[in-house]
Amino acid sequence: MYHQQEEIDTASAPRGVAQRMRHYFGATMARSACLDCANFRPAKLSSSMMSSGDNCSAIPRRRLGRGRTVGASLTLAAVFFSAHAAAADPKLLPPEQAFRFSARALDERTIEARFAVADGYYLYRDKMRFVVAPDGAGLAPPQLPAGKTKEDQFFGKVETYRGDVVVKLALAAVGPGQSLVVSADSQGCADQGVCYPPTVQKVTVVLPAPGKGPGPQVDANPVKKRWFN
């Protein structure tokens, strides 16, 4: 019996052509495929390198005469790859990217925590928790914003978050220049019909001197910079 896999099945994802290609060639390959594009614009690389191939083929080509052949062959190559990439790419993000956590110090006593929930994903309000270390920082119970209430067929009335979720963390016993570790627990799902187990993400935030805030936004899992980001 052979090992079959469905489209949404991530088991095949890392072995998918698109991902391997990206792994081996990075964005270079994507740029090569755009050689024939007239006004070469860095096509935005989203979840898949192949999306740039698609964008690329949509950009009008320069009048190249014989070069058109080149353009056609490269476009064909891009289409060829994108067709296969579509089947291999499950288009599911790892939880730390679906629910990107970051924080910054607003002033010497307040941290602003933020979840950036990707499109097509949601977090459960009642699963969100924040812990600030060291314990002595004196974190007051945070006020979570209201979520969108829905009547879940299994869980009854639940509140969920989409988009940006911003929570202020007020600290009673801290001082300027103090370094704090903010841990955020969250649990959410993708609209595609999968859920992620509870995830903990951490950032280290340094409190500013009075009147010197806010500090820089610190990402728990910074997305690696690519040529086209």
Binding site: Q5, E6, A11, V17, L64, A77, H84
Partner: protein
């Protein structure tokens, strides 16, 4: 554009196409479907919701559907009534469902009663997530289902809902 540039473009184009084709077919050759034995899974022993240890290899020789789930996972709950139906329909022909719950025993037991589960569900805790990762659930998301044939080879893995028609086709093919 000069003819030299055009010629260079042609050369580069051909090279890219050749490289692409080579890489594509090269990768695919190594990715040819292979038999994957569910050895790790078969060797597993976990407690059920009542606390009794269950060895997965007690179901060797059956068509085994191992479903990783949790009570906190709505899509998991959604598909389980279909599994119950299939267990009833094909159980005596050699189909065996086994749940591995990434959850606490009391919550599992409560839900089992609620839904009238007619197959065992083992308590995997978060270690079960790691196990599913080894079986191809790279994102460690739920539900994740592994279908194992009578020889103990993995026939299908599914992240997300296993559609009733897909399940039915697989079961009929493997039984």
């Amino acid at each position: 554009m000069s003819s030299t540039a055009v010629r260079w473009l042609l050369v580069i184009g051909a090279a890219v196409a050749a490289l692409g084709a080579g890489v594509y077919f090269g990768l695919n050759r190594t990715e040819a479907p292979t038999r994957v034995a569910a050895t790790g899974l078969m060797g597993l022993a976990l407690p059920d919701a009542a606390g009794k240890e269950q060895r997965v290899d007690q179901w060797r020789g059956k068509v085994l559907v191992v479903n990783f789930w949790a009570t906190w996972c709505a899509p998991c709950r959604e598909e389980m009534p279909e599994f119950i139906k299939a267990q009833t329909q094909y159980g005596d022909k050699g189909l065996q469902f086994v749940g591995i719950a990434v959850d606490q025993a009391d919550k599992i037991a409560q839900f089992e009663k609620e839904i009238g589960l007619n197959y065992p569900s083992l308590v995997g805790g978060f270690g079960a997530m790691e196990l599913s990762k080894g079986l191809g659930n790279k994102l460690m998301a739920l539900p994740f289902t592994v279908v194992i044939d009578r020889k103990g080879d993995i026939a299908h893995t599914q992240l997300g809902l296993l559609k009733p028609e897909k399940l039915d086709a697989l079961v009929k093919q493997l039984l």
